[in-house]
């Protein structure tokens, strides 16, 4: 039977359509439709000059907007042979790590919501507001910060901001210890998350998974360490991997990265070099091509930019990390239970509101029905309560 899951989700990101073939409660095969968010940005960038494109590219995704903007800026700067001042690189790094912190907090809350643990959702989003405040003070906006400009950053950090940031980070660090322990050792969470969405090491590599999805299966790869950019070669940090190969592994990786990012931001703020914050870029970029990669909160982000001696890009290609992780969702759900769909989809942290209609088709009873995400989520929470005794009572 095919079950369509409907396109809105009260809590998240972009729409995705699922078509699920089931036998009773087991999923035989899963098909996705990822076209709902297609806007035509790649063509739009060809028609806009670099500065205008920067505004557009930031809004490819609102949660990792800085990663997109940084990646594009550093790609164009590489084409122009322009080296940005050290202070600018540090400020970009600070905002990038703050973005990672806010994104992982967001994810922990969302994962909690998907499994019925709404208290965790409220707690983490409340703490996340501290990060949003910081970002607003640094850049002027809570989301879509636009701190980048070609050649550096747009605004500087002064002493008061740095002191406030260090203060907030101290509070966040204490809370992060609590959430890490909760997410990785609390019995109910571990029971609920382990064994779900299995993705073995070899499959993770061959299906092209990136980011915490791959690192949760033991793949030791991180763009910040392997292909360093900005000031990552100087900032000390560890790459977190886990060998669980399931959703619990991905949770452990994200919780670990949260703690690491807080330390990195503190280090960068304390060691911020003095100097200029931007350099005037030339008007146009000489002909060439560049592949710019960075580690967005969800994984490896790739921009392929070709220039042709004008102030517009000749070709701009984006590969968001979520696109690379969809095959692993299909792999992790085939043969599993319908009740696992919400958390496995949420575990790759899709930068897509996974709220499309999911169509279910049962090949046994020849029935088909449509659920929206809320109905699927409620089914999932109920199933786990009745069959495994896992319930938070929220």
């Amino acid at each position: 039977m095919k079950i369509p899951i409907g396109p809105q989700h009260p809590a998240l990101k972009e729409p995705v359509g699922f078509m699920v073939n089931v036998e009773g409660e087991r999923i035989k095969s899963l098909d996705l439709d990822v076209s709902y968010n297609h806007r035509g940005i790649e063509k739009g960038v060809e028609q806009r000059d670099f500065n205008q494109s920067l505004y557009l590219i930031e809004r490819i995704c609102g949660i990792c907007s800085h990663a997109h903007a940084t990646n594009f800026s550093k790609g164009i700067e590489e084409l122009m042979n322009l080296e940005i001042p050290k202070r600018a690189a540090y400020i970009r790094l600070i905002v990038a790590e703050l973005e990672r912190i806010h994104s992982h907090y967001l994810w922990v809350g969302v994962a909690g919501h998907e499994i019925g643990f709404d208290t965790l959702f409220m707690y983490t989003w409340r703490d996340r507001e501290l990060v949003q405040d910081l970002l607003e003070i640094i850049s002027g906006n809570r989301v879509n910060y636009a701190i980048n400009c070609l050649g550096g950053v747009r605004r500087d950090l002064n002493e008061k901001t740095i002191k406030l940031a260090l203060d907030h980070l101290k509070k966040l660090g204490e809370r992060a210890v609590y959430y890490t322990k909760l997410a990785t050792t609390e019995e109910t969470m571990v029971d609920r998350l382990s064994g779900v969405g299995k993705l073995p090491y070899e499959k993770a590599k061959s299906l092209g998974s990136v980011g915490p999805t791959a690192r949760g299966s033991g793949v030791d790869s991180d763009v910040r360490r392997d292909d360093p950019y900005l000031a990552y070669a100087e900032v000390p940090f560890k790459v977190i991997t886990a060998n669980n190969c399931d959703v619990l592994g991905r949770t452990i990786v994200r919780a670990g990265e949260l703690a690491q990012s807080i330390e990195m931001t503190k280090w960068a703020l304390e060691n911020l070099p003095p100097g200029e914050i931007k350099k005037a870029p030339p008007r146009s970029a000489p002909p060439g091509e560049v592949i710019s990669r960075c580690e967005a909160p969800r994984g490896e982000l790739v921009h392929y930019i070709k220039s042709n001696n004008t102030d517009k890009a000749e070709r701009f290609g984006v590969r968001t990390p979520t696109m690379a992780n969809w095959p692993s969702v299909v792999e992790g759900l085939t043969g599993q239970n319908i009740a696992d769909i919400p958390i496995v989809v949420a575990a790759i942290d899709p930068c897509l509101s996974c709220t499309s209609r999911t169509t279910f088709v049962d090949t046994d009873s020849r029935k088909s029905w449509v659920w929206n995400w809320d109905e699927l989520r409620n089914y999932s929470i109920r199933w786990y309560r009745e069959n495994k005794g896992i319930y938070w009572g929220d």
Binding site: S206, G208, M323
Partner: protein, 166 residues
């Protein structure tokens, strides 16, 4: 960028005539141009000898005179290898690599949708990004594509049935 790629000489020698051209703009980046006959051997070489376990993305490019399909492979040790294959503007097609690189499954569908490049042998060639109402032979990322005001591209119909809606 002044830093050299230490693998450049090795790759040039190993590939020999299979690669039309091999350049390395900087450390950890290498660009290999191949032909539709030799690209699979180049990709297999990169997977076996250069430890390229990860396909970052494969994309299409329209150079006005021809098309290109670019494959970006990543190796933790040796960096990024880009394999470019030039295709004619008329009926561009290149065999699928999903049998040796399973990660290519969604990317080839995207290139097919946006450029019209065929990938014979792909197990599941359906639309990925464009909606069902989009005209079948219109490929938006081609340089010579312009939206036709009189056609309907999906979404909201105007009273005349075309694009200009009230």
């Amino acid at each position: 960028m002044t830093d050299e790629n230490p693998m450049l000489a090795v790759v040039k020698q190993d590939l020999g005539s299979k690669a039309v051209e091999v350049t390395a703009p900087r450390r950890k980046r290498m660009i290999i141009s191949a032909t539709p006959e030799t690209y699979r051997d180049v990709i297999k070489y990169l997977q076996d000898k250069m430890d390229c376990y990860h396909l970052s993305v494969l994309q299409g490019v329209d150079n006005r005179t021809n098309f290109e399909v670019v494959y970006h492979f990543w190796s933790d040790r040796n960096g990024m290898f880009t394999v470019k294959v030039a295709l004619p503007h008329d009926k561009p097609a290149i065999g699928t690599i999903t049998d040796i690189v399973p990660a290519a499954i969604l990317y080839e569908r995207e290139v097919h949708d946006l450029f019209g490049i065929e990938f014979p042998g792909h197990p599941d060639m359906r639309r990925l990004l464009l909606n069902d109402e989009w005209p079948k032979d219109e490929h938006p990322l081609r340089k010579d594509w312009k939206m036709d005001e009189k056609k309907f591209y999906g979404g909201v119909k105007s009273s005349t049935g075309g694009e200009k809606s009230g």
